[in-house]
Symmetry: C2
Subunit: 360 residues, 2 copies
């Protein structure tokens, strides 16, 4: 029995004279928000996360706080959500921070950077290492408050029609890899090609692309890349994390009753555990199918390629940091977090994995 | 402004005649629970998590759902919480499932098992791989519903006064390592010694213990072990995960209004992200201090020791599975989850860590 029903019951008990003001009270207390997203409705991973956040908020508030979700293009285009929330066309959005690199170069640090933080490290940086306050500062000029809201996990390094055995094999390679990863590839002689997800399969099949990355085994297998390329490379050096971004209109968020503000923020935080569990489970299952049923071979980028990628990633990130003072402060905070967290991940997790797998 | 205040405001607006029933209604809607815990008040890690869950629930419910927290010994002893919630002396507890091994052998699977699941894998097994329904079934005979509520992360392998260079060094070694890990050590010729946390430092200092494990760098450094032992071993083969357990009295949980039931469950789920971030951040910082300021050396268990530990862990777990049919089903579900998830962790995370660290 919800509090709204309890309220209704007490009204009945109190008699008809109470009904009018009580009902008015119920209406007054109901809050309706719009959430615009950068995803198709219920897209596995982020689309499902966005809908679950809206559902959890409505249930935790006893129906007093309703968030109506709009898929990409329904109210505004996929990449129009930042302006839509800034202008209060919608009160919140579910998207990813790296979409805003064009106007806010440092926004990419809040999704993933090449050779950066793994999911458990990224969440620690944001929650404990000063990442949240820098993210808040970065979006404040736009009247926005960002938080983590879900995670698709570690990405793979991409699908290649031909093996990559040395740096020479990257020369002139036509590869789809957006953002900083693509820029790093360009500096190694590859040719990054920008294509939307819907065109990737055919481009890889026809040879317009020699290689493409997308996400992880769960989404990649659904795209069918394994039907035209049998070499699936690791590691996903370019995006070791997949944090989903919830953006709130600052005035709308601050205007909520405290309990509803905490409810929507806690619903986003719970998704950081729930959706990462779902992504890891599904990626693991799809990886098994790719190897055992689809004839896909998992290959490591060669050492000389990884070393060159790492060296050039450091240069690209250094240039990004130089763009302005907040970019530099975010770069320095993120670097300090990596230097603090990576040795713990190596000693606690990597060495355990080796021992468990009999490599110890 | 909370809904309770809004209610009060509308009552005032409605006039004195409404005040009495409205106030009565307010009292009726308020729910008070007791949460007993196995921890000292605000113990870093689990104690803080338990208090945060209570605080978040009260805030998300606008003060309508209040959970009063009792530290270990305040209402019932640390290990009396299971019976206390089963008998509804308290409506919920915050504890750890491996405390119940004596009465429920398979309960250990819901904290950690030797060479078992890492935190991100354990959460995936519980949320996605059937772990939750088996955990529910295991506790149903006691009228209890368990959920994950926080995580202290991967543990370390322990502090040793003398180096462990081969299997021979374990013969007769007096080590504090509770549960299955201790049993595995016993089969390798070590002598597990059961001591409460408060006695560990002095026992290690005086030589009553040759070695002890406790938790991770955050808690271990606070215990001061580095002052009497300089060799800190990895991996924590015996406990690769540190899930905190919230136990609910089934009748009390089912009796909550739906919105409050979802609020308390979502508060527990959010802690799986929040407290793991805190543990990783603090463990990483304390590890740095132990190495750079305390003169501690991180050592790997030798290969022959790890191989013997892994082989004997498999035997000990097989024996546990044979105890009864639910133990076998949980063992098989957990094993299947490890076989599904471990290759993904190795390909996506371990190889990324190697590449990031220049080992790729």
């Amino acid at each position: 029995m919800s509090r709204r029903k309890l309220l209704g019951a007490s009204v009945a008990a109190g008699g008809a004279a109470l009904a009018a003001p009580a009902v008015a009270q119920e209406d007054k207390a109901t809050i309706e928000w719009k959430m615009v997203t950068s995803w198709p409705k219920n897209l596995p991973g982020p689309g499902v996360t966005a809908q679950r956040i809206a559902n959890q908020v409505e249930m935790m508030s006893g129906g007093l706080f309703r968030i109506r979700l709009f898929a990409a293009g329904e109210l505004v285009p996929a990449l129009g959500v930042f302006e839509a929330v800034s202008g209060n066309t919608a009160q919140m959005a579910h998207t990813a921070s790296f979409f805003w690199q064009g106007k806010i170069p440092a926004s990419v640090f809040f999704t993933a950077i090449p050779f950066g933080l793994l999911p458990h490290e990224h969440i620690a940086w944001i929650e404990q290492g000063g990442g949240q306050s820098l993210w808040d500062e970065l979006y404040a000029p736009f009247g926005l408050k960002p938080v983590m809201a879900g995670n698709t996990g570690v990405q793979m390094g991409g699908w290649f029609r031909k093996e990559v055995n040395s740096l020479a094999d990257l020369k002139g390679l036509k590869i789809r890899m957006p953002g900083l990863g693509g820029e790093v590839m360009r500096r190694l002689g590859a040719t990054p090609v920008g294509l939307p997800p819907g065109e990737l399969f055919q481009a890889l099949q026809s040879g317009v692309l020699d290689a493409t990355e997308f996400l992880g085994p769960w989404s990649d297998r659904a795209m069918g890349f394994h039907k035209v390329a049998k070499s699936y490379y690791t590691p996903g050096f370019h995006e070791p994390n997949g944090t989903g971004e919830a953006i709130f209109n600052r005035v709308a968020l601050d205007g909520l009753p405290e309990e509803l503000r905490i409810i929507v923020l806690e619903a986003c935080r719970a998704e950081n555990a729930r959706s990462l569990a779902e992504s890891n489970w599904e990626n693991a299952g799809s990886l098994k199918l790719l190897r055992e049923e689809d004839g896909v071979t998992i290959k490591n980028y060669p050492d000389d390629v990884l070393n060159a990628l790492r060296e050039n990633a450091a240069i690209v990130l250094g240039e990004l940091a130089e763009k302005n003072s907040i970019s530099m402060r975010i770069y320095e905070s993120n670097t300090a977090a990596r230097e603090r967290l990576a040795p713990w991940s190596e000693i606690a997790m990597r060495r355990f994995m080796e021992a468990r797998d009999g490599r110890g």
